[in-house]
């Protein structure tokens, strides 16, 4: 089963990076490890990555997904026009964003709405486990169903 999953995801490429001037590297390092372990090809752009760098890497590596991390509270301004830049470069990928997306995260539903409107397919808070993001991406890329899904189907 593990072997099968790896086969299915072998060709799926994920571009990761921390957007803007943010230098928080720990989360992205752990995401890189988690997605690699889950069988994805990972291109980690690291911290302080510009919108243009995300777009170029997505094109160069024919990315299936672009995962944006932001932890310093300025995500909204850093992501203005991001999807237009991706589109202009011809990127057709699932886009996720996660982290501390607003300075005062009192109402995460409002934050989620904001970033959904900016064009992201999924929005995660900083408490999200990497497993959850992997699970979501498997669904969105229609990779082989996970154990829990099959359990649901068969029950």
């Amino acid at each position: 089963m593990v072997f099968l999953m790896v086969l299915h995801t072998m060709s799926q490429t994920v571009v990761l990076g921390v957007i803007g001037s943010d230098a928080h590297v720990v989360g992205i390092t752990i995401l890189e490890q988690a997605f690699s372990a889950a069988g994805f090809d990972v291109v980690n752009l690291g911290v302080q990555t510009s919108q243009q760098e995300f777009a170029e890497a997505a094109v160069d590596h024919d990315a299936d997904a672009v995962l944006v991390s932001s932890l310093y509270g300025h995500a909204e301004q850093d992501c203005q026009g991001f999807h237009q830049v991706l589109e202009a470069a011809g990127v057709d990928a699932v886009t996720y964003i996660g982290g501390n997306l607003a300075v005062g995260q009192d109402d995460f539903e409002q934050t989620r709405k904001t970033f959904r409107e900016l064009g992201f397919d999924r929005v995660f808070d900083s408490e999200t486990d990497s497993e959850e993001a992997i699970e979501a991406l498997r669904q969105d890329l229609q990779i082989t169903p996970t154990e829990s899904e099959r359990a649901t189907i068969s029950s």
């Binding site: 590297v25 720990v26 390092t29 490890q33 988690a34 690291g46 302080q48 990497s130």
Partner: protein, 479 residues
């Protein structure tokens, strides 16, 4: 080709004039006049002397606000109410990026509206006179703390402004702080900072220099931190610095932290020239804090306990509001007093913990492997060796945002909570040492009934803020 050689006097002068023209306050710097100012300062404001003659760990907080009068008030409060022995002046982010114009706008706005849009004290904009007003107004030694890759103008102005201690270094203020500054570039710029400190030192004004020990602040294996400290110490010594404080950030395992501080002092004295006075600074936990002041106080006290046993020369304290960012001055002062109480209750006790010598020996052997590979990479030259070793990955720092380090090495805690290396990548290390780490991590994996994997790394990163030392699988967590 940049090498570990002292900058000649004429070159020092040339760079000095060049960088002082980068912002108008640079004009006011006059070396001879600055020496006179330093000579006029009372003994209790001479940073190196106060630090080196202390008979127990001195405490120092972090603190910086944009306006001069606010900074004076803040430092006086921390000195009087917090009983800080040594004071800091933390510099704002624009200054760290050499954006003096933006810093000026922030300072102007702060002066007009009272709002602090800057996250620190823009010392370049305050200029020599502004700095001296601060030095004159506060009755303890003050250090410049920042995080600036190119700190040349900041050094020129703050040294002339009467500061006698300056944090940072070419690796420790590059690798953890910035993505794109090349190491060669920052080494060159910090050679100037050290050379300038050396010029003051030659004239009897010993500027204390303090490489930033915690690096990325996240589970940094002690030997990696110590190797970086030794390199930066050596570079500073070459330029004439004679008072060097090597740093280390708490990892939270008492035995490993005490062993690391002992190794740091011992290797510092061994690797640095005899004419350098080596002191050590211990940073209370630099990783994520619990989002709860009560638990944060436990973390802070744990640091104080470790300091009481290891007896470093200085301790940088944290506040119970660490989780939420910049603390109020009351919280900052509370962190100082909590630490003080623990240290004063523990320091007269004989607390010899088993296994410290053994752990220290391991840390020393690891550090020597790293130092050897640096010397080999550079054919004996530390600068070239550092550049090439980082380039090859033989020297690496975990969780490094900088493009100058591979950041491929990954740490994890062993079953006792000591930081070991889970992923070595290309880090240079003797095989028998790697086996020791592997065996310790394997022991943890057995305890937890799971494979060694990056999951341990991820769990460990969050553990202390979640209330534990080791990131055990959640099923085991009891609340």
């Amino acid at each position: 080709m940049i090498r570990d050689e002292r900058i000649p006097s004429d070159e020092l002068r040339r760079i000095d004039e060049e960088i002082r023209s980068n912002w108008h306050t640079g004009e006011a710097v006059d070396f001879e006049e600055a020496i006179e100012y330093h000579e006029s300062l009372p003994d209790h404001k001479r940073f190196a002397d106060v630090l080196e003659s202390a008979d127990k760990p001195l405490l120092q907080p972090r603190a910086g606000v944009p306006r001069l009068d606010d900074q004076i008030e803040l430092l006086r409060y921390l000195h009087e109410e917090g009983q800080a022995d040594l004071l800091p002046t933390t510099i704002d982010s624009y200054t760290r990026d050499n954006e003096y114009e933006k810093a000026q706008q922030g300072l102007d706005k702060a002066r007009e509206t009272g709002d602090d849009t800057l996250n620190g004290f823009p010392a370049v904009n305050h200029g020599v006179d502004g700095c001296r007003k601060l030095i004159d107004a506060v009755d303890a030694p003050i250090e410049v703390r920042h995080g600036t890759p190119d700190a040349r103008l900041l050094a020129a102005i703050t040294f002339a402004g009467g500061f006698q201690s300056f944090e940072g270094g070419p690796i420790s203020y590059n690798i953890p702080y910035t993505k794109r500054h090349g190491l060669e570039e920052t080494i060159e710029k910090w050679q100037f900072v050290d050379r300038l400190a050396g010029a003051y030192t030659e004239r009897g004004v010993r500027i204390n220099r303090e490489p930033f020990g915690p690096l990325t602040g996240t589970l940094v294996p002690p030997s990696i931190a110590i190797a970086v400290m030794l390199v930066e110490g050596k570079l500073a010594a070459t330029q004439g610095v004679r008072s060097i404080t090597l740093g280390y950030g708490q990892v939270g395992n008492v035995v490993q932290d005490v062993a690391a501080l002992h190794a740091l002092k011992k290797l510092g004295n061994e690797y640095l020239p005899d004419e350098v006075v080596v002191t050590t600074v211990f940073h209370e936990w630099m990783g994520g804090f619990p989002p709860d002041e009560a638990r944060a106080n436990g973390v802070i006290s744990f640091g104080g306990m470790t300091a009481a046993i290891a007896k470093p020369d200085k301790v940088i304290t944290k506040s119970p509001q660490e989780f939420q960012g910049v603390p109020t001055m009351e919280a900052n002062s509370a962190g100082l007093r909590t630490t003080r109480q623990v240290i004063d209750m523990a320091i007269e006790q004989k607390i010899d913990i088993d296994g410290i010598e053994e752990e220290q020996d391991l840390i020393e052997r690891e550090t020597r492997c790293l130092m050897d590979t640096i010397f080999e990479h550079g054919d004996g030259d530390v600068v070239q060796g550092t550049l090439k070793a980082f380039d090859s990955g033989a020297l690496d720092v975990p969780f490094a945002p900088s493009d100058s380090a591979k950041g491929a090495v990954l740490p994890a805690r062993d079953d006792d909570g000591r930081v070991r290396i889970f992923e070595w990548a290309d880090l240079e290390m003797d095989d028998d040492i790697k086996e020791i780490h592997k065996a310790r991590l394997s022991q943890r994996a057995d305890t937890e009934g799971r494979e060694q994997s990056f999951r341990m790394v991820a769990d460990d990163v969050d553990a202390i803020s979640d209330g534990k030392l080791i990131g055990r699988p959640q099923g085991d967590v009891k609340l």
